[in-house]
Symmetry: C2
Subunit: 258 residues, 2 copies
C-alpha cells in the first residue's frame, strides 16, 4: 500500500499515538520525520479529561516534544463553542475537574441549583455518580439545554477500556427523554472547523489519522481530508467488514504513513 505524503497531519491521541502511559510503536519516529520534512502536525483528541497543556506535556515527556498550541481537544472546543453560542451561561458539568476548571477560567459560572442552570454539559466522567445524574435530570426537566464534549463509547486503555462520554449522555437522555443537542467533539463539524482554523491548509492537503471509524475517520471524510485508520486502538480488522464508513488507508502501524 502506497500512501502519498500530505502537507498537514492530524493525529488522534488515545489508541493512535499512545495507549495509557506508553507510546505506540513507531509514533515518535513518525512524528519526528514528518516534522523534519516540514509537514504541519496537529494532535486532536476527543478526551476532555485534561487540558491541552497537559496533553502537550504528556507527549513531550513520552518523547514527542509538543506545544499546547498544537493540541486541540473537545473540552477546549466546547469552551470556545459556549463562548460563542451562549456567553455568560450557567453550566452544570457531568465531567471531571479539569473541564470544570477550564470553564471557570473562561468565565462561566458553575451551576449549583438545577432550576438556575442554563446548560448541562455531559462529558467523559470517571467521577460520575447518581447525584450528578439527578442534578442533570432536574436541570434538563427545568429547561436547561443539553450538550456534550464528545460521544465516544469508551477510551482505550492497556488491556481494555474505560466507559466514555457516550455512557453519561445515554444515562441522561434515557431518564429525561431528551436527546443531546450538540456534541462538539469528533465527528462534529464544530471540531473540524477548529482544526481548519488552526492548521490553515486546504483539507485536500491534509490527512486525519485515528483509531475510530465513527469519530476520527467520519470527521476526516466529512471535512474533505484523506483518512487513515490505525489498528492499534479501538478498531480491529474484523470490525471493518460491516462498518458503515471506511478509511482510505488502514495501517497496522503508524509509521506506514512515511
Amino acid at each position: 500500500m502506497h500512501i502519498p505524503l500530505f502537507d498537514g497531519y492530524i493525529f488522534d491521541l488515545d489508541g493512535t499515538i499512545y495507549l495509557g502511559d506508553e507510546l505506540l510503536p513507531g509514533a515518535a519516529t513518525t512524528i519526528t520525520q514528518l516534522r523534519a520534512s516540514g509537514r504541519r502536525v496537529v494532535f486532536l483528541s476527543n478526551n476532555p479529561t485534561h487540558t491541552t497543556t497537559h496533553y502537550a506535556l504528556r507527549l513531550s515527556r513520552l518523547g514527542i516534544p509538543t506545544d499546547a498550541a498544537d493540541v486541540i481537544n473537545s473540552s477546549q472546543v466546547l469552551v470556545d463553542w459556549l463562548q460563542d453560542a451562549l456567553p455568560g451561561c450557567r453550566v452544570y458539568v457531568v465531567g471531571e475537574q479539569p473541564l470544570i476548571d477550564e470553564l471557570t477560567a473562561a468565565g462561566f459560572m458553575i451551576a449549583t441549583d438545577p432550576a438556575a442552570t442554563d446548560v448541562v454539559v455531559a462529558s467523559f466522567d470517571r467521577t460520575f455518580t447518581y447525584a450528578k445524574l439527578q442534578f442533570a435530570f432536574d436541570a434538563i426537566r427545568a429547561g436547561a439545554r443539553f450538550i456534550a464534549t464528545n460521544a465516544d463509547r469508551y477510551c482505550p486503555v492497556p488491556g481494555g477500556g474505560e466507559p466514555d462520554a457516550a455512557a453519561m449522555i445515554a444515562a441522561i437522555s434515557a431518564c429525561t427523554g431528551v436527546a443531546v443537542e450538540v456534541v462538539v467533539g469528533k465527528p462534529s463539524p464544530i471540531m473540524a472547523r477548529a482544526v481548519a482554523r488552526h492548521i490553515d491548509l486546504p483539507p485536500a492537503r491534509c490527512i486525519m489519522v485515528g483509531d475510530r471509524l465513527e469519530t476520527d475517520i467520519a470527521m476526516g471524510r466529512e471535512a474533505g481530508m484523506a483518512t487513515a485508520l490505525v489498528l492499534t486502538g479501538a478498531t480491529t480488522r474484523a470490525m471493518l467488514a460491516d462498518a458503515p464508513i471506511n478509511a482510505e488507508y488502514v495501517l497496522e502501524r503508524i509509521e506506514q504513513l512515511l
Copy 2:
C-alpha cells in the same frame, strides 16, 4: 365515563397508589371497597429497590393493610426468572442493596471479578457510580449476559422524579455497544405471566391500573386485560395526544374505578 367492575384489580404503586410517603387521594377508599366487594387486588411494581415485604409493610402503614404475597415487584420476578433460566449463575448487580440481598438469599453468588461474571443485572440504582459502570463494562466485554429488572425512565417522587433503571441500562449499553437482552419488569410478558399465576383469573376479567402508558398500560393490553391510566403520576393529559398506546380508561382520581 362508566367503568364496569372486574374480578381482579392489578395496581401499580408509585404514582398510582402513593407518591413518596403519601397515599394519593382516594387510594385507601378504592382498595377497601374493592376488597369488601370480594374483588381480588394485587399490587405490581417495577420498583426493585425494596422487597415485597417492604412494600406490604409500607402499604399497611399508609392505611392499606396488605400481605407480602399480594405484592409482585421486578426484583422478585428477576430472581424467579434467573432461578429458572440460569440457576447457579454468578451475578453482578448494578442496583441497590435489597436486590443484592434478595439474590443472595436465593442462593446466587455475587460476582467480584468481571472475568468471572455470568450475568450483569441493571436496575434502579441510586447508588450508581462509575466504578459499577466500569465493572459492568468489563464483565459484558468478557462475555457476561446483560439483563435488567425494569426499564422505567424515572420514578415519580413529590415535586419531580428520580432517574430510574433506564439510565443505568442506557449507560451500560452505550459504552459496551450491547443491548439489554431481557427486561423482566412491565411491560414484559414475564411480569404479566407472574401476575397471571398469582391472580388465577382470566385476563379478560382483570383490569390493570397504572400511571404509565409504556409499562403499566402496555403490559395490561398485551396480556388481554382492561386498562386504566391514572393521571396522578408520570403521565399528564397533554402527553396522551400523540402517545403510541392508549388506555381504555383515563382517570383523574383512582376512585373513579368504583
